[in-house]
Symmetry: none
């Protein structure tokens, strides 16, 4: 099958000023990758005809499909259509159906200005993409051996038009299906994962795998192309199995976004509840868990005990224990989890106490964190030293990941610490 | 002053696949616009040396400053540095200080691999940008009449390094001083702010002001250029005063990142403490506050009472009250704040109970939230209806903003509700 290399050109000074982030290019790229079309470049250029013209010339040299976002509306900044038409030697003609649509859409609300009509001018013989969320239509045409697609800039209009009109148009050009899965990993870093698989990855063509780093974990993306979805799916299976075999218990899930999402699934399967007592993470573990809709079925609640007094008052932790061992200690972490578990009568509970920095406590180094998991029969504690050079947000997030990782391991029968 | 045209090249296949959105280019563009440097192009290219080389050649023709993001880490995909060095004919040499730093940073936790060292190879005679949030250093050098800057791809690292190292480096190239202040606003939206000031903004040249929207608040950026910092500073003063006069109590702070940062300042000035009882925000209010270093001096702790049982157990809220009014109600919100205030003996306390969605409770609409503030003499409650079409994360964040806004108003003697 022919490979279509694609370039997305986003036209808008507001992106270059940093006022908005280019979500259009992301949304389109995601949709294209799902239908097996390679995006090779994103370009952003301002509302300037000469610079846009040059970008189109560059794109003509390196891409088969050129997609533009933005610059189709009625304001004087909107020049994409005219510049593209000129660059490809196509004529713009008034599209009567779109013209009528514009009158119907705009008339009731606002004065209909001459430049509104400009939106209904479209390349001769193009495929028209009607705008379901706004006024400016988009379109596709072929010229000079290239496929050209124009969609509007406002994210909702761009996204809807691309999904409803551009994707079907492009699919009709391809006979291949693509399937992609992400294998999520916690406990070893991206560079180790890369080293383990590098030799294999270098020679893989279809399916492929590639490592990606997140702030506190990483994943391997496995992608296959084939004549049918089922066939592509079948090709990814053995690669995923192979990764699981090599990385063992470091693999925490497939196609989940984060470790807490996997933990929710496990709690759901086993109909178990949990609670949390947090010191240095300051509510982040609870917050991350409750980011996920439906968390209330598994998460009963928690306490944020940011001071010794709060640990005594909210959890009933012995002043003596705090005195003898210090707040950042193994026994205090264990007690925190045990006490909140009793208090809220949950199956599991986690406790976190440590130093997220920038200041230390005079005893422990910044990055020292004790993470505990209390269960019916046993309490586990992990002692972490996350490094004095790490940011507060890294230490907090990583501590949370360890708490979730301990839950995940406990719930799947793996060694917890 | 010379005009520096800038191109930002982001290197990363994950952006072209639509896995992530290119926030790096946005963040950098925003920072550059504040120091008066024009961004003319954004380019995204995959982890492919030949295509990257071609993009660099294109950039050389149309930009004076070339900034790359991504491709500095230890994996085999990371090739920006080598390709740039080759394109500009500069030699890479091992930077001993960064090499040592890498050992210290990585050693405690993970195996130190050979390809980690690659990160400390830097262009000869470059200005090194130390990475305060990760391992890979960045750098800047001048060659072939161009200024070249490399920063890492992970957004936090990119953002911090650009702000701390690249901006001062670029500022030193210009003889003009630019001063920029952001006037932060909560309670009215960006479009209203835009409408109020539009006519003035259109005719302003130096200083300028421009409105920006954040997820749950907005700000006006006031920027002045002059021969000296003091002079530029003096020019911004009257504009800021004018904005404060027009918007009154909606202005919550100058040059703060978020409303909680302003609240911390106010608590610090008045030597007061606070605590929080959260239901639908699930720990987010505590988490946001404790994101800020030093929060432990003002924030004693909190509870996350995600179920009725947790509200009874942790706070001692009457089962009858919950029964009669429902968990999402005015009196329950008031009690939550009052009880946590008593329990942790703080000066102030906030309580939040509501429906973040997607599911409702059969009584209240999604987006219904009661936010309370308990003080020594009085308890205030705001009833919010944040809209059924809003996302869970918006409702949670906005509820938190209201809690902080009530504290801010109380602490500055404004009307709280």
């Amino acid at each position: 099958m022919r490979e279509y290399n694609t370039e997305i050109i986003s036209v808008g000074t507001e992106i270059l000023l940093g006022h908005i982030v280019n979500t259009d290019a992301r949304d389109i790229s995601e949709m294209l990758s799902k239908i097996g079309i390679n995006v090779k470049y994103h370009t952003v250029v301002g509302d300037n005809p000469e610079r846009l013209r040059q970008c189109i010339e560059t794109a003509k040299k390196r891409a088969d499909i050129i997609i533009t976002t933005g610059g189709l509306g009625p304001t004087c900044d909107d020049l994409t259509k005219f510049t593209l038409a000129e660059a490809f030697g196509v004529k713009l003609v008034m599209n009567e159906a779109e013209k009528k649509g514009l009158y119907d859409y705009i008339h009731p609300e606002m004065p209909f200005t001459e430049n509104n009509l400009q939106q209904a001018m479209l390349p001769e013989n193009c495929t028209v993409f009607h705008n379901t969320c706004g006024t400016a239509p988009g379109c596709a045409f072929e010229a000079q051996g290239k496929i050209v697609i124009m969609v509007p800039g406002p994210p909702k209009e761009c996204n809807a038009m691309f999904a409803l009109s551009a994707v079907p148009y492009l699919k009709s050009l391809s006979e291949e299906e693509i399937v992609s899965h992400s294998v999520r990993i916690f406990g070893i870093g991206e560079s180790s994962v890369d080293q383990i698989f590098r030799d294999e990855m270098n020679v893989m063509e279809n399916p492929t795998m590639a490592p990606y780093a997140k702030e506190c974990d990483c994943f391997l993306q496995v992608t296959a192309k084939a004549g049918s979805r089922a066939e592509a799916e079948k090709m990814t299976g053995p690669v995923i199995e192979h990764i699981k075999e090599r990385l063992g218990e470091y693999v925490y899930g497939i196609d989940v976004e984060c470790i807490e999402e996997e933990v929710i699934k496990l709690l759901e399967q086993r109909k178990l509840t949990f609670s949390a007592a947090e010191s240095c993470t300051g509510g982040e573990v609870a917050k991350r868990f409750t980011d996920i809709p439906g968390a209330s079925s598994y998460f009963r609640g928690g306490v944020v005990t940011y001071t010794n007094e709060a640990k005594e008052k909210l959890l009933g932790i012995d002043a003596e224990l705090l005195e003898n061992y210090g707040a950042v200690s193994y026994p205090v972490a264990a007690e925190m989890a045990e006490k909140v578990r009793e208090l809220l009568r949950t199956d599991l509970a986690v406790g976190i106490t440590g130093l997220a920095g920038p200041d230390g406590d005079g005893v422990n180094e910044v990055g020292t964190v004790f993470v505990s998991l209390a269960t019916e029969n046993e309490t586990f504690v992990r002692e972490l030293h996350l490094g004095t050079g790490r940011s507060r947000s890294y230490i907090r997030r990583m501590s949370g990941n360890h708490a979730y990782d301990m839950m995940r391991r406990y719930l799947t029968g793996l060694k917890v610490i």
